[in-house]
Subunit: 280 residues, 4 copies
Amino acid sequence: MSDAIGRVSLADVQANPDGRQVPIAKVGVQNIRFPIMVKDRRRAAQHTVATIDMSVDLPHHFKGTHMSRFMEILNSHDGVISGEALPGIMRTMRERLDAETAQLRVSFPYFMEKRAPVSGSAGLLSYDCAFEASSGAGDDFVLTVRVPVTTLCPCSREISSRGAHNQRGLVTVKARFTGELWIEDVVALVDDSASCGLYPVLKRADEKWVTERAYDNPRFVEDLVREVTLRLRAMERVTWFKVHVVNYESIHEHDAYAEVEETKGVRNGETRGSRRASPS
Amino acid sequence: MSDAIGRVSLADVQANPDGRQVPIAKVGVQNIRFPIMVKDRRRAAQHTVATIDMSVDLPHHFKGTHMSRFMEILNSHDGVISGEALPGIMRTMRERLDAETAQLRVSFPYFMEKRAPVSGSAGLLSYDCAFEASSGAGDDFVLTVRVPVTTLCPCSREISSRGAHNQRGLVTVKARFTGELWIEDVVALVDDSASCGLYPVLKRADEKWVTERAYDNPRFVEDLVREVTLRLRAMERVTWFKVHVVNYESIHEHDAYAEVEETKGVRNGETRGSRRASPS
Amino acid sequence: MSDAIGRVSLADVQANPDGRQVPIAKVGVQNIRFPIMVKDRRRAAQHTVATIDMSVDLPHHFKGTHMSRFMEILNSHDGVISGEALPGIMRTMRERLDAETAQLRVSFPYFMEKRAPVSGSAGLLSYDCAFEASSGAGDDFVLTVRVPVTTLCPCSREISSRGAHNQRGLVTVKARFTGELWIEDVVALVDDSASCGLYPVLKRADEKWVTERAYDNPRFVEDLVREVTLRLRAMERVTWFKVHVVNYESIHEHDAYAEVEETKGVRNGETRGSRRASPS
Amino acid sequence: MSDAIGRVSLADVQANPDGRQVPIAKVGVQNIRFPIMVKDRRRAAQHTVATIDMSVDLPHHFKGTHMSRFMEILNSHDGVISGEALPGIMRTMRERLDAETAQLRVSFPYFMEKRAPVSGSAGLLSYDCAFEASSGAGDDFVLTVRVPVTTLCPCSREISSRGAHNQRGLVTVKARFTGELWIEDVVALVDDSASCGLYPVLKRADEKWVTERAYDNPRFVEDLVREVTLRLRAMERVTWFKVHVVNYESIHEHDAYAEVEETKGVRNGETRGSRRASPS
């Protein structure tokens, strides 16, 4: 037995009873870096590096959970993280940790090849993404995709005799859905909503193109959050979403932001209590 | 009129009508650094530096909000941020931005003098705190206090013939309350719950004291979240709280954490829908 | 005696001899947050919050330094950090820690009122600054001022039929000097060098002004580092400087940067060994 | 030609002459995330994700460098980053950018399997590493390896009747060397120098072992920087090194640190001017 040295058995302090009457909603490990493979529409799978948080609930009558088991589960797994693999990992967490509920968060940069609009010059662009899954009282899965874009100010363009201030913006989309939702689809709908998408490699003809495209498609932070909202509303398989847009204003030191959250069939501001636990 | 140059009037693009039928829950500015004064139990008030986020809602039929007004409100204010001052700031935000709801988040380090337990050597210790207020459909106020502490592992102590691993932990308490809740009170209850509190200056006699106190009060991350929970349950004026504890494990590269959230009279895991909008 | 409890004297482990023959260049404490006052050209002094690092050298024959003394020096000091106060603090560090050399780094946001160019609307803007001082084999002092600005791309403007991409840039100036150098002067010379300076409050007439000014003053990251260099070369009291410019490109996910370092009378790329130890 | 649209040739603004007489030491791109493969002693190569900075010098008579070429070089490369591949990348940078000197910094988490000391339970641990190469007036290569460890305070142990405070520490080793230096070797020498190494998975018998090992091997931050120094001095192929140790003190909110830098044959504090440009 691995917990005994020679003949001496070591006390299992965590398994002691606890009389304080405080159930713990989440207890676990966080900030674990781990190499993973995620499904990639173009190349079957891609290698990347994740930061992982794992937790379970702990009933009030146990003193502690067995933290090393989270690491054993992670390390016994082959590193393939996908929609198909998650339910199995969650089930193992609940079984090994003897828990009712389990939560898993996997954050990672996802790489996509992107071609410049005129020259076709190709390069990789990275997007911060996350899978958040919970299992127990009900299963839940939220996909997060973060897309950097260009935003150009409609007011600045309208009132100025030349030019318009523009800047890097960052759009964070969180979504619940039925069936399958590709990261590539979320990136595409955000790029379409912005003044212009970003590119890894831009030659001069491309730079002219993106400059003029942004000038022709001015977007307030309010416009961008609304354009993304319209496109997510139109995707039938998306059942809930939250869109957060930040503009790293080129004329200010501070940032501008806007946020919309909608459950399908329920208008913003009237959000009903969801039956599913939110992992975010 | 400040928006006209000479005789030319500049278009107010933000005031244009919008037909996309997307109300925006929050639109505003964030990451504004600003010098503030906060109430201090010992010295009436202390100077510190805040990071501020301000937002309002935007009805679906307006194209944009007037971002510069947030900055005008902040800069016209004298920098005193307190429980008494917040309602006035929120009201001004709603009036000037013509909004139904307003949200304000003020994050800042708060300094407290702390004396070493044996030598009495005094020094300042800083705690990350935040005020989150929202106003509109209902008023809400959440205080956040983050307290670094020492945690010593009960299992390590029990099974080892000498020593016990210990580390810096970080306890985040969020609370809603009636009446007044001092940051000093939250720090004190967390220090009491931990293996030992932290000190800015420790002479050798103090170092002996904190080492032995931690050894005599071992705490799992689960114990600490529970001890803080018991003390918050016992404070009548606290109506809701959330406690998050992280241990920067000295024997691992990853962190351990635990979390409890309770509305008074409602047990953890049965959280009922709150009538108040949550600003966090 | 504070290091004895009752009659028992506690061993001074740090004062033990060490035979490993390894002198330590820097040993100390870092990431101390502390409220300070710094000189302000307009209001005599301003309150802000610093992050402080303090270190000394340790000869090879001592086992350890006495870390608590750094904190005692800091806490016994009244929090006024200025060019006049630093030599005294450094001297105390060397005396109390029994060291040949001492290093001090004080980083803080510095607030300046800035008025919008047309409407005159006033507000505070913050600049990350630092004092780095060292004392011992020779005294040294380096001022760091970080100035966010607008940069507009000359190539994008030249090749596009309308608009030009622009973004927030960040200019870091480090300087050694004789006499006095105000943070306000460094901010002003950087603002003059950029496509446009940033402002806390901009009304519509101001937004038109900054948009057109940036369009009329296009700057590559290379142009900006050179314009700042020319202005620092022209300031006689500046004896050494380093300029680092980052552009948070609005058309890319990555950043562009450029760097120049010059000792007066010595051209870039021929940097001679400085007689003064560099604290950076 | 990719820079012409139809018949219209686009101006090459960067290639314009510049009369400001300011040569630029470094101009380039930074914060590029990119999937790479690095050599792995155990498995030939491992997949990971890097953050990359690339720069060249720019003579005073050119207005700008051609930033897109950095991205083209990176994206045309197959992602294998190794000691053998770097000289070729640097040469391409200098040729394509028409530059005298080139600098490349590649930062990445490196994963190693580590087995628990008693149970043998295996898991992955990550180490932040970096390659910094420069080429031109002389070639240079610096390896950085960051190793988290346990440190236990000798003073606390000596003066306390039970226990001793300990914490996570972080050791950063930078080294220049001849021949080959494995990341694995640097991790091993740092683990040997510390109170105890860290492990991804620890069962109870292991936790007893690491607790007692740390207690039996107390180390001040000064001890640790010296122990690492002694081991690097003894490695003949290492020609220069810099060791930085931080202790995230479990009894304080601030950190303790120590630093040693040595060129072989030259004692600390007498550092001679290196003939090689330093990329760090």
